[in-house]
């Protein structure tokens, strides 16, 4: 479903003198309905890897395939088609501040051209899954960090994507909320959605017992089927 072939990503500092290697010759493959965690220290390349899958960044070298599409070569205009197959949970939530929780979730369906009755049926249902029906009419700034993250997950789920990318979704949350979010991601995975979770939370990784990719200074140093958090 997703495959990385010798992918490298290099950034240049703003002055353009210094090169920063974010990913270096990374290769792996992710099959449908897998739950894969990506671990590593800050700056190891976890977020860059997720950005490459979302085609927010393009690889400097190597190839990335998503359902047969080469993400490095795809035209900008065709990106929405790819991104609609992906649900993304960002570490900083990235909710639209001028829209309510309900509108944030509904926006995805509106963007894909869903009918009004479908939106009216599905949005409350997803709000129910994340346990926030009562917060539907609140704006993001009126929600707690945990609530915002759950709205972000609801938004990522609403259009039934093939893949969920979760970039440190528990980074800003207390342990109780963090556990709830992980349980939610597991539930999503159980219904057949591929989940790619980036985290540096040791406890979560060790409890999951799922596949773990470990990154170190941009290189993939471990790929274990039932991995543990080892740095």
């Amino acid at each position: 479903m997703i495959s990385f072939k010798e992918v490298s990503k290099t950034f240049f500092t703003r002055a353009g003198h210094k090169q920063i290697i974010a990913l270096n010759g990374v290769s792996f493959e992710i099959k449908p309905a897998e739950f894969v965690s990506i671990v590593g220290k800050s700056g190891a390349g976890k977020t860059t890897l997720l950005k490459l899958i979302l085609a927010e960044e393009r690889p400097t070298r190597g190839e990335i395939f998503f359902n047969g599409d080469n993400l490095g070569k795809i035209k900008t205009a065709k990106l929405p088609r790819i991104r609609r197959k992906i649900g993304t949970v960002f570490q900083d939530y990235k909710l639209l501040p001028s829209k309510t929780a309900y509108e944030n979730i509904a926006y995805i369906l509106e963007a894909v051209g869903a009918e009004e009755n479908e939106i009216l049926r599905n949005v409350p249902e997803v709000l129910g899954i994340v346990g926030l029906e009562s917060r539907a009419q609140n704006f993001p700034e009126e929600l707690s960090a945990g609530e915002r993250q759950r709205i972000a997950i609801a938004r990522a789920l609403i259009h039934r994507p093939k893949v969920i990318l979760a970039d440190e979704p528990t980074g800003n949350l207390d342990p109780y909320c963090a556990l709830d979010i992980i349980k939610l991601l597991l539930k999503i995975n159980e219904i057949g959605t591929t989940v790619i979770l980036s985290t540096h939370d040791k406890e979560i990784i060790n409890r999951l017992g799922k596949r773990v990719l470990t990154l170190e200074q941009g290189a993939l140093v471990r790929d274990e089927e039932r991995g543990h958090f080892i740095l």
Partner: protein, 301 residues
């Protein structure tokens, strides 16, 4: 498609309304720009009027011999009128010339007394206006070399030449300067308006990026901004139109004296359709085009 279009229009209106402060600031700038562009249009009308009235004063006079019959004079007038260079020919008979002279000098007894000694010493004449200053020499040479030259006593072109050339030269310069200044002012105004819209959209750059990342198409993101721009432009046009009409209605009669007989209100009403079109093209055009260009930068994610 239709559902998406309806949503785009709805989002555009909602965003315009929910960020009313910013929308009104954009409208305010657009009103200034529309006001300026409309003023330039009205100034064009005024300057054309002034130029025409100054050029009215540029003419040459052919004085006709005392024994010329009126029939020959009118024949000559007809010939002149047919010439493409000639804009207007006015025949002043001996009697009309005397009447005019008497009227002008009635308070000067010495002149009037001297005039009484003769039996109408004035000549009949033809006042000729050409379209361009450069056309006068060819007109004069036609008069000197053609058959009716035996009717002509004198042509005052040599004395009037300098004045005619100055009048045409200055009015032409004013016309060109007007066009250049109007163009520069219009460009500045459009740039200011474009920058205002760009700044308003700059505030939404993060939202645009998020919308791209969650899979919205470029048109679905850009559409509401364009609709917002069009709404701001439309409201600005309506407001400007009434504001300018009000200003002209109340101020026009008071400044009429300075406009040398130019009726601003009639000119405005006579050109209302053109003015409204110019305002719509300016207001809605700037709103829509600026939004389109300004969003393009943030859609490259």
């Amino acid at each position: 498609m239709l559902t998406s279009l309806k949503r785009i229009i709805y989002f555009g209106w909602k965003d315009f309304y929910s960020s009313l402060g910013l929308s009104l600031a954009t409208c305010f700038i657009l009103v200034i720009v529309i006001f300026l562009i409309t003023s330039l249009f009205l100034l064009k009308g005024l300057s054309e009027h002034l130029i025409a009235s100054v050029r009215e004063k540029a003419d040459i006079t052919i004085f006709l011999k005392g024994d010329s019959s009126e029939e020959d004079i009118l024949k000559l007038k007809e010939e002149l009128v047919k010439m493409p260079e000639v804009k207007e020919v006015e025949y002043v008979s001996k009697e009309q010339a005397l009447e005019k002279f008497t009227k002008e000098h009635k308070d000067e007894p010495e002149i009037m007394r001297a005039l009484g000694l003769f039996d109408n010493p004035l000549w009949s004449s033809l006042n000729i206006k050409a379209f361009e200053a450069a056309q006068y020499p060819s007109l004069v040479s036609f008069l000197e070399n053609s058959s009716p030259s035996n009717l002509i006593a004198e042509v005052d072109y040599p004395q009037r030449k300098l004045l005619i050339e100055q009048i045409f030269g200055i009015t032409e310069m004013v016309k060109r300067a007007g066009i250049i200044i109007s163009f520069i002012l219009a460009v500045i105004a459009i740039l200011v308006a474009f920058n205002t819209v760009r700044l308003a959209i700059y505030n939404s750059r993060e939202e645009i990026k998020i919308q791209r990342l969650v899979g919205a198409s470029n048109w679905f993101i850009r559409g509401p901004f364009i609709v917002q721009g069009a709404i701001a432009g439309f409201f600005s046009v309506v407001f400007s139109l009434f504001m300018i009409l009000g200003i002209i209605y109340f101020l026009g009669p008071k400044i009429g004296f300075f406009l040398s007989g130019f009726n601003l209100l009639s000119y405005f009403l006579a050109n209302l359709g053109t003015i409204a079109l110019i305002q719509l093209a300016t207001g809605v055009g700037i709103g829509v085009i600026s939004s389109y260009i300004a969003t393009r930068k943030y859609l490259d994610v």
